[in-house]
Amino acid sequence: MPRFAFRLPRRNATPLPENPLVAFAWRGVHLRGREWGSHLLEDVTLDLYPGEVHLLLGERGAGKTLLLELAIGERRPDTGHLLLSDTPYTPRHPADASAARLTVIRRQPRLLESLTVEENLLLAHPAGPLEGPGNALALLPPGVDLARQSRVADLPPDQRQWVAILRAIHPRPRVVIFEEPALPLPSAQQRHLLHLFECLTRHGTAILYSTRAFPDFPDLPVRRFTLLHEGRVERFGLMNTATALPGSLPWQRRLPPRRHFKAPDDALMRQPLLTLRESGRVAPARLVLHEGEICGLAGRAGSGRHALLQTIAGLRRDPHWEVWKTGEPVGLFENAGERLMSDLPILENLTLPRLEATCGFITNLRREKITRDWMAKLGLNVTNPHTPVAELSLRDQRRVALGRLLIARRRLLLFHEPEEGLPPAERHWLLSWLQELAHSGHGILLAGAAPDELLALCDTVAVMEGGHLQSVRPAAQWTENELPESR
């Protein structure tokens, strides 16, 4: 009797070697960008040996995530190839990666929110034991009490991260790629990662630890590292050699000195643009933002900074916060160009906040002139204001979003991860623009910059943790190590 069961095609028909030389490798990988002639990755070669922890260092936008996406088949290299256990490996779908026992822990893990912890784990590895010796939950650090039946959506960020980690290491993987695994974890639990790495490498699992800055724990059992910079391998080698790491990373640049806003003379009694306090807490921290000030908001992933900014902007209601603003509307800059209308031209996007109109009808000539002026001011790479935003590069899209914010002429500006995914020069441009804005009297609340940037740029820095405002201090009273790495 014929069987009509639906079967996935088997990709790795030949069995993989038992003791491979290389557990996983990217060899000479090229990836073209959306822009003509630009490269996201250029000739990247990286070998992972069985049982090693490899450190992949690189700033934002260096291409770390691209390597991960290549490995799980979300992208395919334009040239170059991948190796899995010494054999060529061409994943077409994330299912291929999990079939090859290659798992990843992404910076923002996509858990199935409405399902329980148990269901999430079993979905990754249906046969995996959740009871008895060798079960996944036994790998949790001592302090963490993860109930199997609790819904993932109800968990705090550190426990969610543990679910993500367990989901990845539960199927006994050959290769695991950790992307900033320690960020959402409190420092007491971060050390437990070392224990996990030891368990994994003992069984021959290769680990790629991908991070922006060198992790806090110095005894990470790393033998080798690779440093990515703008899609190229900048340096690689053994950790114990005298390669200067991480003292002077190549992308760190100095910002110009701050020029401070001079309030008009009668402004002794000037009102703050924003006062923020948590309600229902004993001695809550208070955040006050005046004209011409920049306030940094530091915090780990999931510490509630984005929700706070949205609350201030009035996009969500949260009785948890007491917000006093001046009556005028607030400008919110959210990560990336998703907030732009990508189908519509630059003209429409830039002028939407201020449509020059008489009697409700738009005056075209004036509108186009304003757009051209702003395009020149923002230094866009295109000159035609009728170009759809979808055709712009990420750099230009971000600049259009910034321009739209400025055209709206708001005094209080909230920025959420404005530099995410931008190359260093562009980030530098953005930060110096923020300085200029503060100099001209805007009040700026900035969430999602690196600690060193926050300290260089801001007047005050506030730290958030678990949805609470922990402390607010002038920037001079913080040191870089006290601030949590954002995201």
Binding site: E35, W36, L315, G331, M341, L344, F361, I362, P388, E391
Partner: protein
Amino acid sequence: MRTQALVSTLYRTPLLRAPVPLLGLPLLLVAFAMLQGSDDLPLRTFFLDFGNFRFIAMQSVVVAIGAFGMTLVIASRGIDLSGGAQILFYAALTGVLATSSLWLGVALSLGLGLLLGGAIGWAISRSGAPAWLVTLAAMACYLGLLRTLQPPPPGTVHPWMAVYPSPWWIGVAPGAWLMLFLAVALAFIVRQSVWGRHLLAIGADEEGARLCGVRVTPTRSLVYAVAGGLFALAGVMQMAAGSGNDPHRMAWLEIDMIAAVLLGGTPVNGGRASLFGTLLGAFFLAVLRNGVWQAGWPPAIAELAIGFSILLAIAWEHHRRHHQYAPPMTGWLER
């Protein structure tokens, strides 16, 4: 790379946003003109007769005017499922009131259309419920209201919708001219007015629009209000055409209006409104129904063809979305 740029240029040509009626209309005309009709109705000569086109224009009026309203709603990333029920209700209402005063009936229908439409829009915006759900409830309400009315029996055709209009030189029925005027006026309003730009901004990204200072609830209420007014106008035209009050035709009015919008190149995801495309789409549907009817085929064929053309339009739109933008050219070309 060059072919990619060419494809994207083609895709962004405004005319090509509505390829199905554009290509389909001449195809249909040729096909129906070549067909042999039934024995007593020689299609070959009759289909291409100007009188028949008058008839087709008259037939497309109701669907087209309603579809203009639907275009605005869909461009703001909504949907109004109650459109067909509204048209029937206002047709019946005008019919009832016309026994005392026609103009009173028209004025009352239009006013009520604007008012109730605005209420629907406000309810959608304030509740945050999906538009199809709220308008489905509204459809039930309109159908209930429809049953309370006792409209006069259909049959009398008002001069507004006469196939042979009274000064012969205006060519087609005054209703058809009204349809054309509405297309021009609404296209201008959507393109040039602040409200029109805000409507499209809401359709493209509601939160982004709100951040840019667009007042979403009033804007959206006005969109549904204008749509309600247009549905009421379509209802008046339906009454004038004397083919009012058959609840069984309701479903087809719904589908025809949405089909005309999609065929006309207004994307389901909003952010863009093509009113002339909608006009073209409505005309395409009318030609299709008319030709099938004249050929003596069962109307099921027309319905099947409409369904397939909607699918075709959706497929085209999907393909266009993914290929309309060339990779950005930076560097030496742009500087």
